[in-house]
Amino acid sequence: MSAVNKPVISSRMAYYLMFAPALILLLAVLYPFAQGVYLGFTDRKLYLPDAEFVGLSNFAELLADDDFRASVVRTLAYTLAVIAVQLPLGLAIAVLLNRNSIMQRFLRNSLVLPLLIPPVVAGLMWKTMMQPQSGIVNWFLVSIGLPTSNWLSHVDTALMSVVVIDTWVFTPFAALILLAGLQSIPDDLIEAARVDGAGSWLIFRTIELSWLLPFIVLVALFRVTDSLKSFELFYATTRGGPLNATRTMHIGAYEEAFRWSSIGTAMAVVFILWCISYLASLFLMQLWQRRAEA
C-alpha cells in the first residue's frame, strides 16, 4: 500500500456498495445451497413425507461403504489423469501454436471449436464415434494399422475413455490460457537468451517454463475443480457403467437422488465432494499466490 492511497471513509463505503449487490445475490442463491447441505444430514427419501435429522450417520454409512470409497478413488484417479494428460498436452499445443504463421492462426481459431459444443452433446457424439463395432475411431485405427479398443464399453477402458473425451472438450481451454501466457513473455527476454547462445530447449526450460508457472497453476485450478465434479460427460456416455467402472462421486450422488430417491445420502455424497473440491482449490490457490509472489 502506498502512502498516497489513504482510503477516505466515504470511498470505503463506496467499495462496500460496489460489491454488496453481487454478494447479496450470491447469498440468496446460497440459501438453497444451505438447504442442500442440511438434507445431507437427514434420512430424507423423496417418496416419504417425513425426514429426520440423523446427524452424521449418512456420512458414517458412506465411509463404511465399499462402493462409495471406490467412487472416491475413481473420482480422484479421473482428476489426476485429466491433469496429467491435459497440462502437458495443453502446454505442447501452446508451444506449437506460439508462432504467427497462417497455419498457426488457423489452428488457434479451430482450437476454440470444441468449447462451443455443449459437453453433454460432445459426450454423446464421442460415444457413437467410440462405439467398438460401428464407431469411426476404431475404423480409423484399423485403417492405419493400429490396435482397436473397446473404449467406453469395457470396465478396463471406460474411465480412461471418458478422460479422452474430457481431453477433447477441455484441453483447448488449457491450451488457450497457456498460449496467452507464452505470448505475454517479453520478446527481449527471449532475444537476450538467444544472443547468449541458448538453444530453444534451454530457453523453454529456463525462461518460458518459469514464466508460465502461474498460468499452469491457474489451469490446474480450473481443471481440477471441474473434473472433480465432472458430470455431463459421464451422464452422456456411460452413466457410471459398465459395471461401476465410471461411477464417480457425482454420478453416484445422481443415482442415489434420481434413480433411488435417497436424497439424504445423495446430498451427503455431494457435500463430501464439495469439501474435496474446496480443499483442492484452496491448496492450488495458495500454491498460486506463493508462485506469484516469488
Binding site: L46, Y47, P132, Q133, W151, V155, L243, W260
Partner: protein, 452 residues
C-alpha cells in the same frame, strides 16, 4: 399450443387432413358431452421423446379447438424427463399436470401420494363421455397393470387406477432371413437351440452374431434379460414370498445368458443400450437381435432409417428349458399429478388422448403397439402392420403370441428400481469379472433382501 419438438415438419399437411377428419370423427362426442366445460384453462403436459409424441403433437390443436383448453407440451429425453418429473412431484410444485410414466415408476409415485387416482374421473358422467370412451375396449391386462392397491409387494392389477396406457411394448427376436438362409439355420425356438447356433451366427454375411441390450440398470432383469429369466421360470418373488434372484433357474438363466453373449456378441456387448441395439441391427451388422423391443419394427422397416428394410423377420422369444414362454412388458402410460391445479382440464386431455379415435390416429402415425382392441381391429392399422416381417402378417402374429405371455411380474415396491439395479449389477459382474453366477446373484439377493 406450444409444441416443444424439433421435428414436426409434417405439421401443416397433417393439420389440414385432421381438421377435416375431426369433423367426422368427433361429432358424437361433441353433441352429448360438454367438452367446453374447462374452456380457458391451460395445462402442462410432460412427454418423453418417443414416436408416440411425434404422432400426438399434430393432433393437439384439435383438442384445443374442441375444448378451449390451452395445452403446453414439454418434450424431454427420457432421463431428463424422469429427473424433471421427480423434482416436480417431490416438491409438490404442480408445474406439470399430466405426464408420461409407467407402472414401475408409478409404484413409487403412488406410494408417495404424488399421483391422482383416476377411477373417480373415469366413472364421472360429467367428466367422461362414457359411451364414446368405452374403457372395456382396452386390453384388460394392459389397463390393469396400472392398477395397484398400494400394498407393498402385492395388489398389482387390483385397486385404484393410477394411469391410462398409451402404448405397450414387449420383446421378440428380430433376425435377418438372408443370413439364416445363407447359413442353413432355422430361427431358434428354444434357448437351447439358440445356444447351439450361437457360435455360427457370425459366419455368414453379418459381421457379428447377436446384439441385445445389456447395461447395468433395472431394464436388464425387468425387460430383455427379464424375458429370458421368466421363461426359465424365474420370478423375482415366488408365490410364497421368497426371493428367487439366486434360485437354481436364475443361476442357469444367467449362465446361459452370459455364455450366449460371450459366444455370439462382440466384446462391447456389456454396455449396449437401446440405442446401440437398434442402431447396430438397423445398420445390418448383426444376424440376430435378441429379446428386443417389438416396436423397433417401424424403424427396421423404414428404408430411410434402416439398411435391412427388405431383410428382416420376427420370431417369438425362445422357449425356456421347461418349454415355457413368458415375457416382460413395458407399458407407457399417462398419469395425473396430484398437485395439479387444473385436474378437470387435465383429465379431459387424458381421456381425449386415450380415446379410441385419438389412439388410432397415433397408432397410424407410428405409436406402437396399440393398447385398444378397436385399434388392432382397425383396417388401416392392420394394413400398416401387415407388411412388416419376412412375410405378410409375420409381425402381427409374433406380437400376438408375445402379447399372450407378456406381463409385469414384479412385486410393487418403491425401492424396486434400486433392487433391480443391484440385480443387473450382479449379471454384469458375471460377464465382466468372471464371477461365479451363484456367488454374484446370491450376494445381490442378500442386498436386495435388506432393501425391503
Amino acid at each position: 399450443m406450444h409444441a416443444q419438438h424439433p421435428s414436426n415438419s409434417t405439421f401443416p399437411a397433417a393439420l389440414v387432413a385432421l381438421g377435416l377428419a375431426a369433423a367426422t370423427a368427433f361429432p358424437a362426442m361433441a353433441q352429448d358431452f360438454d367438452w367446453q366445460q374447462q374452456s380457458g384453462t391451460s395445462i402442462n403436459v410432460q412427454l418423453v421423446s418417443h414416436q408416440f409424441v411425434e404422432a400426438l403433437e399434430p393432433l393437439v390443436p384439435q383438442f384445443e379447438e374442441l375444448t378451449g383448453i390451452d395445452v403446453t407440451l414439454d418434450v424431454l429425453a427420457e432421463q431428463a424427463a424422469n429427473e424433471k418429473l421427480l423434482a416436480d412431484l417431490s416438491t409438490r410444485a404442480g408445474t406439470i399436470d399430466i405426464f408420461m410414466t409407467s407402472p414401475l415408476q408409478n409404484w413409487q409415485y403412488a406410494t408417495a401420494g404424488w399421483i391422482e387416482e383416476l377411477d373417480p374421473y373415469l366413472k364421472s358422467t360429467t367428466l367422461t363421455d362414457q359411451q364414446a370412451y368405452d374403457v372395456d375396449d382396452f386390453f384388460q391386462g394392459v389397463l390393469d397393470s396400472n392398477r395397484w392397491t398400494r400394498e407393498l409387494m402385492q395388489g398389482v392389477g387390483q385397486g385404484a387406477l393410477w394411469g391410462l396406457p398409451i402404448n405397450s411394448e414387449s420383446y421378440l427376436l428380430a433376425y435377418r432371413p438372408s443370413v439364416f438362409e445363407e447359413l442353413g439355420l432355422d430361427v431358434p425356438e428354444t434357448y437351447a437351440q439358440l445356444l447351439n447356433i450361437a457360435e455360427q451366427l457370425d459366419d455368414g454375411s453379418a459381421e457379428f452374431g447377436m446384439i441385445t441390450r445389456f447395461d447395468k440398470f433395472w431394464d436388464l432383469p425387468y425387460l430383455t434379460f427379464g424375458t429370458m429369466l421368466q421363461s426359465y421360470g424365474v420370478e423375482m418373488i415366488d408365490t410364497e414370498g421368497n426371493l428367487q434372484v439366486c434360485s437354481s433357474q436364475s443361476v442357469e438363466a444367467t449362465e446361459d445368458f452370459v455364455t450366449l453373449i460371450k459366444t455370439a456378441s462382440p466384446e462391447g456387448a456389456g454396455a449396449f443400450t437401446w440405442y446401440e441395439a437398434q442402431q447396430g441391427f438397423a445398420a445390418g451388422q448383426y444376424a440376430l437381435s435378441f429379446n428386443e423391443a417389438d416396436l423397433f419394427a417401424p424403424v427396421y422397416e423404414d428404408p430411410e432409417q434402416s439398411q435391412v428394410a427388405d431383410d428382416v423377420g420376427y420370431a417369438p422369444t425362445p422357449l425356456g428349458p421347461g418349454g415355457e414362454r413368458r415375457a416382460g412388458a413395458w407399458i407407457w402410460s399417462m398419469s395425473m399429478n396430484a398437485a395439479s391445479q387444473n385436474k378437470e382440464a387435465a383429465w379431459l386431455f387424458l381421456s381425449w388422448v386415450t380415446s379410441k379415435e385419438t389412439m388410432i390416429e397415433t397408432n397410424l402415425r407410428g405409436n406402437m403397439n396399440p393398447v385398444r382392441k378397436s385399434a388392432w381391429q382397425n383396417e388401416d392399422v392392420a394394413a400398416l402392420v401387415d407388411s412388416w416381417g419376412a412375410y405378410p402378417g409375420q409381425y402381427r402374429e409374433v406380437t400376438a403370441t408375445m402379447g399372450e405371455v407378456a406381463a409385469v411380474r414384479f412385486p410393487p415396491h418403491p425401492e424396486l428400481t434400486r433392487m433391480l439395479d443391484r440385480w443387473a449389477q450382479a449379471v454384469q459382474e458375471v460377464y465382466f469379472n468372471d464371477v461365479d453366477a451363484k456367488t454374484a446373484l446370491c450376494a445381490a439377493q442378500d442386498d436386495i433382501a435388506r432393501m425391503f
